[in-house]
């Protein structure tokens, strides 16, 4: 999917510029993209290191586990098909907690484990189960409390209030998650 889109971007962009005569612009764009990329990496890297460091403390001290356990109770309501106490619930909870704190790469392994575990409950192995879809909705709507990368990028561009976006983000992400879960419920009931 991404491969085709990426190819389409480059082909359509360059061909379009041949027609509009803006070929110098594209030439500069191709040559300058390396500089933009390395600038960005240097901007994001230190802040990412900072948060991964702080979150490592939270995970070693068991604080993330405490959050995950609290969440499991709520999760049994969102995932009615998963039997109570099934291991997939704890993977799902860990994934959500890691996502909440902006730990994308810590969240992914938990998410993959959760999918694997949900697959053991699945009757048709090539078809997505209801619980899997619900889990993906939770994931794609992005339950984030601390969007670390964005805050760091804002700081680098000398924002006066780099963290002012935190609360709006929480509200918007909650709305999208709730909307996604409701639609998921409605469709899955209809299909039954």
């Amino acid at each position: 999917m991404v491969n085709k889109i990426w190819g389409f971007f480059i082909i359509s962009g360059i061909v379009f510029c041949f027609f509009t005569g803006n070929i110098k612009l594209i030439n500069d764009e191709i040559l300058n993209c390396t500089k933009s990329a390395i600038d960005m990496i240097f901007k994001i890297f230190p802040v990412m290191a900072l948060w991964l460091g702080i979150m490592q403390i939270a995970s070693s001290s068991g604080l993330l586990n405490i959050f995950a356990n609290k969440l499991s109770i709520l999760l049994t309501k969102i995932f009615p098909d998963i039997p109570y106490g099934h291991e997939s619930l704890s993977f799902i909870a860990s994934n959500i907690v890691a996502n909440m704190f902006g730990l994308g790469n810590a969240a992914t392994p938990f998410g993959l484990k959760a999918m694997e575990s949900l697959q053991t409950l699945n009757n048709k192995k090539d078809t997505a189960s209801r619980s899997m879809i619900t889990f993906l909705v939770l994931n794609t709507s992005g339950v984030t409390i601390i969007p670390t990368t964005i805050i760091s990028l804002r700081m680098m561009y000398k924002s006066i209030t780099p963290t002012a976006i935190v609360l709006p983000c929480i509200i918007a992400t909650s709305l999208s998650t709730i909307a996604g879960l409701i639609l998921d419920r409605i469709i899955s009931r209809r299909i039954k």
Binding site: I5, W6, F9, I10, G13, I14, F16, C17, T20, L25, I26, E29, I30, M40, I41, F45, M48, A49, G53, I54, Q56, I57, S59, G62, L63, F101, T108, L112, M115, E116, K125, M132, I133, L136, N139, T140, S141, T144, I145, I146, I150, L153, Y157, S159, I160, T161, T163, A164, I165, L167, P168, I170, I171, A172, T173, S176, A179, G180, L183, I187
Partner: protein, 172 residues
């Protein structure tokens, strides 16, 4: 609003450190260990970012994107939404590194505290890349029939983006 937003991070850090202190873990050693794990992340991220910046910059700067979606312009101006955030909205469900590249460009051009910069930040922070998550998670366990998951995921994205725009416009 700004005050609450500014307090969230210090309070979170305080809670984490105090909890770690009570549990008697090696605070500093753990911090260093975690920070170190950012190196492999950055090295995997760089090629993706570079590729995405190349693709997205060619696509957006050439003007083909605006031309493609110019039919949306009246809707945007009616709701007083800056048209500049369109690439962000279009790309958000497809790729995370590409929207990060767009966000970077918008900050450079308009500044992070402008209306455009703030809306773009909230969109980036409140939604996730549906296509990527679907491909990765379903691919890992060999699911071929994804049923209605894509529609629900995209629906959640749209709700997130629309609420990001409304909330930010109300605040600024």
């Amino acid at each position: 609003m700004t005050l609450i937003s500014n307090m969230i991070i210090p309070i979170l850090v305080l809670i984490i450190i105090i909890h770690g202190f009570i549990k008697r873990i090696d605070l500093y050693d753990e911090f260093v260990k975690g920070a170190k794990s950012s190196f492999p992340m950055i090295t995997t991220m760089f090629p993706c970012l570079l590729g995405m910046i190349l693709g997205v910059n060619i696509f957006t700067k050439s003007g083909v994107l605006d031309w493609f979606f110019s039919f949306l312009k009246p809707i945007f101006s009616y709701w007083k939404i800056p048209f500049e955030i369109l690439p962000m909205i279009v790309m958000r469900p497809i790729s995370g590194s590409s929207t990060l590249a767009i966000l970077n460009g918008l900050f450079k051009k308009y500044g992070p505290d402008s209306l455009i910069g703030t809306i773009a930040s909230v969109i980036q922070g409140s939604t996730d890349t549906t296509f990527y998550v679907l491909t990765l998670y379903f691919g890992s366990i060999g699911i071929k029939k994804i049923r209605y998951s894509l529609y629900v995921g995209l629906f959640a994205d749209i709700v997130g983006i629309v609420s990001a725009i409304i909330i930010t416009s109300m605040l600024l």
